[in-house]
Every structure is written in structure tokens, then in C-alpha cells.
Amino acid sequence: MREIIENSVERLFADQLNAPAIAAAEAAWPAALWSAIEETGITRATGPESAGGGVPWSDIFVIVRAIGQHAVPLPVSETLFAHWLLAGADLEAPSGPMTFATDPLHLSETGRVSGRLKNVPWGRNAGHVIAIAKRACGRASLVQLSTKNIAMELGSNIAREPRDTLNFDHALPSAAGHLPDVFDGDVMRLGGALLRSAQMAGGLQRVLRECLQYAQVRRQFGRTIGSFQAVQHDIAVLAEHSAAASRIAEIAFASTQVSLPLLHVGSAKIVASDAAGAGAALAHGIHGAIGLASEHALQFVTRRLWAWRSEYGSREVWAQYIGKLTCEVGESNFWSTITNGTFDRASVAEAANYVVLSN
């Protein structure tokens, strides 16, 4: 299954996207490109099986990673996550591009929502945004809101991907449902971090490929630059970053089922964000000036790496969070937390039985 998805996604993106196509999409919404991708059904893969979805996250990984590999300038990840959220709350999904927001909205007694959603990916282009809305009593709902006719402040990240601020004032959701217990209040940030980790892993694979190709054709001092040991070692380090980011992002996806696994998602965001910065720097160093040219394939990917590592929590934010939780479960639960892959099962009983270090 996974191989079939990977091959068809690879073909689709490779056919549709080259440097001029990405540049055009960064300037204006590429409606035809969106339609071409939506027609294949991949944007609905996370929805219910009855609506053409039911694909497990372990397989969704290859789609999201390919988005990074090909610098796909569309809200494909966001739409995938929105479908999964709606399915979790038993809400029917609309067609078209969707997005999601991390800021919570206020939900009134009459079922209307108000509030400000900052940095919403493709807010201006997505037909609907999925958000969490809370009543005064604290009870949370998952709401689906139309983005038509709402007050919007436009913004973009350094990949020139829209990151808009949406203002809702007593708006009526187009659908609303109980927020499932398995989604905690952090579900949006966790989901965003999960998606960006895999996108960065894909971006790193791409910059590695670009560097390998370039190093084997570019000649200086009478030989290819890839034959110099210093360059070889830089590329080796880049390959390490790429492998590490891919591995942990894949693990985070594979351990996502009905809820998002905090330890693995956090780890993936930390490792991929570190790798993104280091990898982009190495790749530009290897390319020299040509990688800075606006029509060069490399910079479409490195700009995304720089943008994505900051979104949904930087490396530092996640490191502090994971570190705090690690200290809370304590030294005696440390190794079982790593092997269980979750903080949830850290148990006092198991801790009491683990190798006790004397002082």
C-alpha cells in the first residue's frame, strides 16, 4: 500500500512541479494545480474509509514527506490533517483546500464563535478552517468555519506560503462537534509539529539529492568538487541529518493512531528542526553562489526548511517541553519511557523495580 502511494505521489509531484511552477504558485494561488492534486484523492486519505480515506498515518508519512521533497506550494498537509480532525469528531468534510488553527476560539451559548486565529496556513485560499472553540465553562468543541467574508490580515512565511490571521465575530460554524477525549488541547500544535517534521525530512532528502548531483558535475581546480574530502565530509554530515530527521518523523507517524504521541512528535520536531538549520547551511555552502539564485531549485527547499522549523514550536520550545516531562517521570522511569515510546505508561510500579542507582 505504502509503496503504491509513494510511487503515485512521487509521479504526481514530479510531473506538476518544477522551479517555474513553484515560483508561480508562490506569487498566486495555483487553482489548476490544486485541482490536479485533489482529483487523485490523496488530500482525503486521512478521512473516513467510506469517503475514500482510512489510510493509516504510517502510510500518510510518505505523502507528507514528498510535500517537503517537492516543495509543494499548496495546503496538502493542512487538508490531510483537517480531514483527520473532522473524522475524529464524526463530522462530514467539505471538499476543497482546508486548514487548521492553533489558537482557540470562544464559543457562545448560542453556538457562535469569536476570536482571532493567528498564522493560519493558506487562510486566504482554504475554504474552511478547523479550530477548537471553548465555552466559558471550559468545554471544548471542534468547529469547522467557512473563511468566506471574514476579516483577514494577510501574511506569509519565508517560503512565501500564506500565513494569515483570521478574525471571527459571532460567526456560525458550518459544522461543530464534541472534541474527542483522545485529542487534548494541544492537538493542533502537535499535529502541526508532526506535519512539519515530515516535510522537513523530505526537504532534507531533496537538498541532499541536489548536493550529490551538483558535487558530481561542478568542477573546480580541475576536478569535481565531490572528489574533495572536505566536501565529501560535509555531504556525509548532511546525509546524517537527512537520515535522522526521516527516521524519527517516520516513527512519529507510525505511532500516531487515534491520538498524537507527544514523545515522538516532540522528538521529531526537535531533531528535524535542528537538521533543517544545519542541513540548509551545508547545502548552500556546497552549492556556492548559484544556490542563491531565485530560479535555482535549492532555494525553494531551503526557504521552506527555515520556515517550517519555526512553526508549531521551535526546537527550543519543544526541547524544554520534552525535558520537563522527562524530569517529571524521573530517572527510574527514563528507559521504560524511551522503550515504550510514550510518557503515558510511566508507572510508579515499574520505576520502583528498575535498577536503583545508589548515591
Binding site: R2, S58, Q205, L208, L212, A215, Q216, G226, S227, Q229, Q232, H233, I235, A236, V237, A239, E240, S242, A243, A244, S246, R247, I248, E250, I251, A254, S255, L263, H264, G266, S267, A268, I270, V271, R315, E316, W318, A319, Q320, Y321, I322, G323, K324, T326, C327, E328, G330, E331, F334, W335, I338, T339, G341, N353, Y354, V355, V356, L357, S358, N359
Partner: protein, 382 residues
């Protein structure tokens, strides 16, 4: 190009019972040992511990049952190793025999060698050391000059091996030596010999390391006479055999867990309310540990499937050893205690030990520079 696609859940769940059995055993055996004692882990020699582990059946698990093993796959050994090293168990006595000498003898040895050596390896009674490096052949292993010539039914060996961990406490060395001329290139004319270290003609001189430990040695052979059947594998094929042997060395949990005792001690020292800097350091290390563990598991899965894993193992080793080396560096920056050789706390002593042991992590098993060259070759640049 990237580390194997790998579905960890199904594979790992098959080994949960084994993991918990090993964990329970370690809990009993290591209870109450102090962190600085445990810090040396796979450099710490404890024959009693090795024998007890052998009694459980957990040494040489990949060897066939008729030789005392469990006939299990590399994954079982991986899970046992993870648990041993995460608990910083003193595994040094049997480590080399379990990791590489046993599999090497199984693959290339004669039936007589297998029958005489493998059961004792599995019982945790027979210890091996590695005879590769020489005074003038470190990373450039093919430059070795130790020579074995045939004299009737015997080999006569002259030369020296160096940086040999545990030579003075091991029963055997498997040594790479020159048995012929380098007629067809630098890698020809090499063979592996099984050397009984108790024989006359073997002189073992300790080399104290910077921590004050005596695990290193120089081993000198002067007209050492070995029986003809000391040859392991084929005469002249030593390079290929040693290359296969090194593959066992590069991707195991010992390439990312060497400093884990310091991370555990640090977490204990920090307590349940870390400040922002402490939380950040610990969180980032935990993230990298999770990543490395799954990379290492992926390589084990490749080995289990019999796939080529040279590139993956090299990538794993380079990142894993960098991680091990960074733990004492980051712990030092947190300024919770100065490293102490004497006095202080369990934490300050563990910090001191790991700081001094850390440089070795990216030297043993192939230096960082050599490993990056292997990665570049795997990527098609060489």
C-alpha cells in the same frame, strides 16, 4: 540512501517478553551499584556477571542451539544489548566474544573450532580481544606488519598489536596478520589467526589510559608458535573477513548508549522541577536518543533481513558517537557540579569519567574521519 524503511511496532512487540526478562534480571543483579561504578559499562570487566548472564542464555543468542546459543536472529541480540547498556551493566568481559568473535568463528571457523569455543562463549566463560591495530597501522589497517610464517605444522608469529582492550584478561585474540606477500594489492596476503594468549611467545604489556584504567594493552609476539589449525577461515582472505567483522561493530546500541548513565544521573540530579536551561538540554538529548534508538533498530532489522547495511551503520555510528560525546559537554555547561576524580557526588564523578572516556567513542570501531569517508562512498562520491 536513507536508513531502511522500517515498521518498528510489529517487530519490537515480538521481543517484549525477552526485554522484560532481561530488565528483571538486571534489576536484581545491579541493584544498589553506584553510578560511577556503572559508568564504564561495556568497558567494565566482571566475569561473575558475564557467567550469570550466560546462565540465562543471553550470550551468543544468535549462535545455533547445538553450540549453546538460542538460534535467534540479530534482533534478539539487539534487544538484550539495549537493555544491558541502558542499565550500564558491566559487560566488557564477554562483549567482544558475543558481538564479533562468536559470529566470526561460526561463519569462518572449522567445525572443531566451533565445537571447542562457541559453547564456552555462550556460557560467559571464554573471553576474546581484537587483534587489529598495530603501532603503525591504526585507521590504515591494511598497513599491518605482524607476520605469521609456516614452519612444518605450525605458524610462527612475530610482531605486535596495540590498544588491545582486555588482552590481559582474555583467553584468545583473533589477530589479523600477514601470512603471504601483498602480491595483488594491499589487501592480499592477510589472514586471521586464533591466538591462545597463555602461550609462551606472547607478552602483554598494559597501557594505562587517561582515566587511570588498565584496559588497553600492547601485545607482542616473539617467535610465537601456533598449531596449523589456529587459522580461522581461509588463508589470504583475512581482509574480507575483518571487513565483515567490523560490520558487527558499527551500529549496535553501544554506539549511542555509552554515556546514558550520565544522562540518567543528570535527570536524577536535576529532579522533578528543571529550570528552562536544564529542561532544554535534557529534552534535546531525549529527542536524539529516541531517534538514534530507532535508527539502530532499523539497522538491526536490515541485518536480520540479510540486507547490506554498511552505509546505514556508518551514518548511525557517526551520529550516535557524537551524541555520546555531547552528553558530558552539555552536562558540564549546566554547571551543577564540577567534575571530580575523588570526593564530590555520584553525579560529579560520573561526569568526570564520561568526559575522559568520550574521545574514545568516535575512535574505536573506526574513526570519525574514516566513517565519513565510508558514508561518502556509500553516497557514490568515492
Amino acid at each position: 540512501m536513507t536508513i531502511a524503511e522500517f515498521k518498528p511496532r510489529q517487530e519490537l512487540e515480538d521481543y517484549e517478553a525477552l526485554r522484560h526478562a532481561v530488565r528483571g534480571f538486571l534489576t536484581r543483579e545491579l541493584h544498589g551499584r553506584a553510578a560511577p561504578t556503572l559508568a564504564k559499562s561495556w568497558m567494565s570487566f566482571d566475569a561473575d556477571f558475564s557467567r550469570k548472564l550466560g546462565e540465562q542464555g543471553w550470550i551468543g543468542v544468535t549462535l545455533p542451539k547445538r553450540y549453546g546459543g538460542l538460534g535467534a536472529g540479530p534482533f534478539a541480540r539487539h534487544v538484550i544489548s539495549e537493555e544491558l547498556l541502558a542499565a550500564s551493566a558491566p559487560v566488557s568481559a564477554h562483549w567482544i566474544a558475543d558481538r564479533q568473535s562468536g559470529p566470526l568463528i561460526l561463519r569462518y571457523g572449522t567445525e572443531a573450532q566451533r565445537e571447542s569455543l562457541l559453547p564456552r562463549i555462550c556460557r560467559g566463560e571464554l573471553y576474546f580481544c581484537i587483534g587489529m591495530s598495530e603501532p603503525n597501522a591504526g585507521s590504515d589497517l591494511a598497513a599491518i606488519v605482524t607476520k605469521a610464517r609456516r614452519d612444518g605444522d605450525e605458524w610462527v608469529v612475530n610482531g605486535a598489536k596495540i590498544w588491545t582492550t582486555n588482552a590481559h584478561r582474555s583467553h584468545y585474540m583473533i589477530a589479523l596478520v600477514l601470512t603471504g606477500d601483498r602480491v595483488s594489492g594491499r589487501h592480499s596476503g592477510l589472514s586471521q589467526l586464533l591466538i591462545d594468549l597463555s602461550l609462551p611467545g606472547v607478552q602483554i604489556r598494559p597501557i594505562m589510559d587517561l582515566t587511570g584504567a588498565d584496559s588497553f594493552n600492547e601485545v607482542v609476539f616473539t617467535d610465537l608458535r601456533l598449531p596449523a589449525d589456529a587459522l580461522i577461515g581461509e588463508e589470504g582472505r583475512g581482509w574480507d573477513q575483518v571487513t565483515a567483522e567490523l560490520a558487527f561493530e558499527r551500529s549496535g546500541p553501544e554506539r549511542y548508549l555509552s554515556s546514558v548513565i550520565l544522562l540518567r544521573t543528570l535527570i536524577k540530579e536535576v529532579g522533578v522541577n528543571p529550570d528552562a536551561t536544564q529542561a532544554s538540554v535534557i529534552g534535546r538529548l531525549v529527542a536524539r536518543l529516541c531517534t538514534l534508538r530507532h535508527m539502530s533498530l532499523a539497522v538491526a532489522a536490515k541485518l536480520q533481513a540479510g540486507e547490506d547495511s554498511v552505509l546505514d551503520a556508518a551514518i548511525m555510528k557517526d551520529i550516535g558517537t557524537a551524541f555520546e560525546q555531547e552528553i558530558p559537554e552539555l552536562a558540564q555547561l549546566l554547571d551543577m557540579a564540577e567534575p571530580t576524580s575523588e570526593g564530590g557526588t555520584a553525579y560529579s564523578q560520573t561526569l568526570a569519567l564520561l568526559m575522559q572516556m568520550a574521545p574514545a567513542f568516535s575512535i574505536r570501531g573506526g574513526t570519525r574521519q574514516i566513517i565519513r569517508g565510508i558514508i561518502a562512498r556509500g553516497l557514490g562520491l568515492r
